[in-house]
């Protein structure tokens, strides 16, 4: 197991490097640059700017310098669009916000999704099952960019219970968590339900029941664990998606998270910020898919690396 983890970590480094080089090249291939604006800059001003940010150097030197800055100083460089801020500062300000609402949304989605899924599977074809399936289909097809403005309309304008946006105490977390967790919750409920149904039909469950175990113990002790395998493989990437933020949440609730940076930096050609958030998301994805694999081995003793 230890060797497996080490091997996976060793592969992670070239994977990240490849990600950096590919994103860098794609980004520079897009027309326009960070300083392309409505009124063309005089050539000498543009040259000054390019010199300041090192954009006048050949591409390979830029990539090498960039990677070296990260490896040697953990420095992701200055933002091209926010001249008083470095990428490190932008991520340090935005990531905790995203981590907070994303983390809570994940816990909510997981707890509610799994509970609903199990309940629906145990009472298959009951009204509860139909309700869960109906709701989860509904929640999955309702895009969060439709849901977000509706939430603001209801909770801020009509009821006056919640602030319409911004970032602060727990009151500010509710709408982002609702908007972000709903569709994940629905997916988790449906995956749990179908996986649970499959497990409940297996021999070892019949044996457990035959032993005379109470239904509660059968479900919690014998059915839940094996039923979690497909759920866990879904949870890993879902967790990364949630904690690296949602453009929709950041846009509609003005949370200041880094989700918005993904789109903004691409549209603004803020090369450094774009690289920073891409690397962050890439590194987290690699890390959590590793954790999922480790969790697999723990859940299912048959799996050995």
């Amino acid at each position: 197991m230890f060797g497996f983890v080490l091997r996976r970590l060793a592969v992670a480094i070239p994977t990240l490097l490849l990600l950096i080089v590919l994103s860098f090249l794609l980004m520079h291939a897009a027309p326009g640059g960070p300083f392309t604006q409505e009124r063309a800059l005089p050539p000498q001003v543009l040259a000054n700017l390019n010199a300041k940010y090192g954009l006048d150097e050949p591409l390979w030197r830029q990539i090498a310098g960039y990677v070296w800055g990260i490896v040697a100083h953990f420095d992701f460089g200055p933002s091209f669009v926010y001249p008083d801020r470095s990428v490190n500062q932008i991520i340090a300000a935005g990531f905790p916000v995203t981590l907070t609402y994303g983390g809570i949304a994940f816990l909510v989605a997981m707890a509610v999704g799994i509970s609903l899924g199990v309940a629906a599977a145990v009472r298959q074809n009951s009204w509860l099952d139909h309700l869960v399936v109906g709701l989860s289909i509904g929640a999955q097809v309702l895009p969060n960019f439709v849901m977000a403005p509706i939430l603001v309309l209801v909770f801020t304008l009509w009821l006056g219970w919640l602030p319409g946006g911004g970032w602060g105490g727990p009151l500010y977390w509710i709408m982002p968590v609702l908007a972000l967790s709903t569709s994940f919750m629905a997916s988790i409920a449906r995956i749990t339900r179908s996986s649970m149904l499959e497990v409940l039909g297996q021999d070892h469950i019949r044996t457990a029941r035959a032993k005379g175990l109470p239904e509660r113990a059968v479900i919690l002790r014998h059915a839940l664990r094996p039923a979690m395998l497909p759920v866990v493989s879904y949870l890993g990437p879902a967790f990364v998606t949630m904690i690296t933020g949602s453009v929709v949440v950041d846009m509609y609730f003005s949370t200041g998270g880094i989700g918005r940076s993904f789109v903004d930096s691409a549209l603004n050609r803020d090369y450094a910020v774009m690289m920073g958030v891409t690397i962050l998301a890439g590194a987290l994805t690699i890390l959590f898919s590793l954790l999922v694999d480790v969790a697999y081995a723990w859940i299912d003793p048959k799996i050995r690396y």
């Binding site: 409505e38 000054n48 926010y82």
Partner: protein, 534 residues
């Protein structure tokens, strides 16, 4: 030297510098003196010399103060300077700075601070995206300094003493005083910048000389400011706290306005008529100094057809501006038949022949011109219109496609992302392109200089007659005659299809007073705002 005063407003300003923020008779001030405004995007920087956008300028205007400010009509009034002298040859301005002006750390604001800031703007080491503004102002040696050919010390600005600032220009520039209300010309504190580096604009570090000090700034969330007790006119500042909230979605922002979280917000396109009916004391439409149009590419890469002036005229005549303004935008915008925004201070709208025709007459004329140019059913004119992603641009483009169909012109629409649009336009890779130009200062030349051969116009329009007129306007006592003639040339040569003059369409809380409603630049100063008791 003759002592010159800007306008009668400046004279009044010197005598009564407190006029702006004073409540009218019978108005009672509200207990709560706070003002919350809407920001579409994150504020990129609060550094006057590095800022490039309008929302950033709105913040900088509260935290810093330049030589001159604007009153609610947009006319220059004293700021840090109480007035200025202009030399006989109109090339040297000497500004007189008030002795009471202070930085928020208590130090006096001196002419040296302005010299430092102006050199900093032009200095290649700063790499400011607004360095060209020094050149636009015609400050001596600005071009050479920006290029790096001369050191920043040779820029035509110097401190005669602590309270006298001398600026030397290369050409007489009648609107120069209006340009020093621009945020990029505001002073900055050298000591703080040298001590803190790029991070000097952060709360707790930022030292300004404006009526407000920075309290907190969460990127993309909010920015808050509080009244600065050290400001020279602090005794007349009524508004205590101001806050900008970033909301990326205009509709959500309107909801939050209606929930009472914002005091001012833009009205999304098409909703003005309804809101104006429901809340006439809150919905406002204010002329805003930008003009929208479709630029023709007359350059080498442009299509042959557009080099024929008859084709360009036909396309302009066939544009149904009333439909665009009344059916699509519906926010008090005005149809444009010329380039300069109608509400620019001192600008007299010239007679433009086709503005007076009916749309049916225009269409007939357009058909005749196009036929004359050799296009018809057997040889239809095919063109491509490029525009950047935006709901309104799309609606107008789709409508235009229909307008041109009546003319027998097949218009292909090409929607691209903003950076791609800009990049292609600047490279000359387009046939027709959506464009809008906004004034840098409140005077007609900011629009008309665009179409000079050396101007920014990406369509490569060039007419020596036009250039000569604009040259003459710079030294003219009353340049309106030249401006009218220049507009007449544009209406004849038609380097673009002017479509509409902008209006700023906003909801403003009805107990807020002192926001400019007649300043076409829409620059506002929180020190002039107050809230009355209702």
């Amino acid at each position: 030297m003759t002592r010159l005063l800007l306008t009668s407003a400046l004279v009044a300003g010197i005598a009564l510098p407190v006029l702006a923020a004073a409540p009218a008779e019978g108005e009672k001030l509200a207990e709560n003196q706070s003002y919350t405004f809407w920001l579409l995007d994150a504020i990129k920087t609060a550094d006057p010399q590095k800022n490039t956008d309008v929302e950033g300028s709105d913040i900088i205007r509260q935290l810093f103060e330049g030589l001159l400010n604007e009153d609610t009509d947009g006319a220059p009034v004293p700021g840090v300077a109480t007035g200025f002298d202009l030399s006989q040859d109109k090339l040297t301005y000497t500004f007189h700075l008030r002795a009471q002006a202070k930085w928020s750390n208590g130090e006096p604001v001196t002419a040296h601070d302005f010299v430092y800031a102006w050199r900093r703007l032009a200095d290649p080491a700063t790499a400011s995206e607004y360095a060209w503004f020094m050149e636009l102002m015609n400050v001596e040696n600005a071009g050479a300094v920006v290029k790096g050919d001369k050191p920043p010390e040779e820029l035509g600005v110097r401190a005669l003493d602590d309270h006298r600032l001398e600026v030397r220009l290369t050409t007489p520039t009648p609107y120069f005083p209006k340009m020093v209300t621009h945020a990029s010309t505001f002073p900055v504190n050298r000591k703080v910048i040298e001590a803190e580096g790029d991070g000097w604009t952060q709360p707790g570090k930022l030292v300004g000389n404006g009526a407000y000090v920075l309290k907190s700034h969460d990127l993309g969330v909010q920015i808050s400011m509080e009244r600065n007790p050290d400001y020279w006119d602090a005794g007349n500042v009524i508004m205590q706290r101001i806050q900008g909230l970033t909301v990326n979605d205009n509709n959500v922002a309107l909801t939050r306005y209606q929930a009472g979280e914002l005091d001012r917000v833009q009205i999304p396109a098409g909703q003005y008529p309804r809101l104006e009916k429901e809340t006439p004391d809150q919905a406002v439409s204010i002329p805003y100094a930008c003009t929208y149009g479709y630029l023709f590419n007359l350059g080498d890469k442009g299509p042959e057809a557009l080099k024929d002036v008859r084709v360009r005229q036909a396309l302009s005549y066939a544009m149904q501006r009333d439909v665009v303004v009344n059916q699509i935008l519906q926010g008090g915008q005005k149809p444009a038949y010329n380039w300069t925004h109608w509400a620019i201070e001192g600008f007299q709208m010239p007679q433009i022949d086709y503005a007076a025709w009916s749309q049916a007459e225009r269409l007939d004329k357009a058909k005749a011109l196009l036929a004359e140019a050799g296009y018809g059913p057997d040889k239809p004119l095919r063109l491509t219109l490029q525009y950047n992603t935006d709901d309104n641009h799309k609606k107008i483009a789709v409508a235009t496609q229909q307008f041109y169909k009546q003319l027998g012109v097949e218009l292909t629409l090409n929607n691209v992302e903003w950076k791609v649009h800009t990049d292609r336009m600047q490279a000359g890779d387009f046939e027709m392109a959506r464009y809008a130009w906004c004034a840098d200062y409140n005077e007609a030349s900011t629009f008309l200089d665009f179409f000079r051969s050396t101007g920014m116009n990406y369509g490569d329009y060039s007419n020596p007659e036009f250039d000569a007129l604009m040259d003459r306007s710079k030294t003219s006592e009353d340049p309106n005659a030249q401006y009218a003639a220049a507009e007449a040339i544009l209406a004849r040569d038609m380097p673009l299809v002017p479509i509409y003059h902008y209006a700023k369409v906003d909801m403003i809380r009805d107990d807020i007073r002192g926001l400019p409603t007649r300043n076409v630049m829409n620059d506002w100063y929180a020190k002039d705002i107050y809230r009355i008791q209702k």
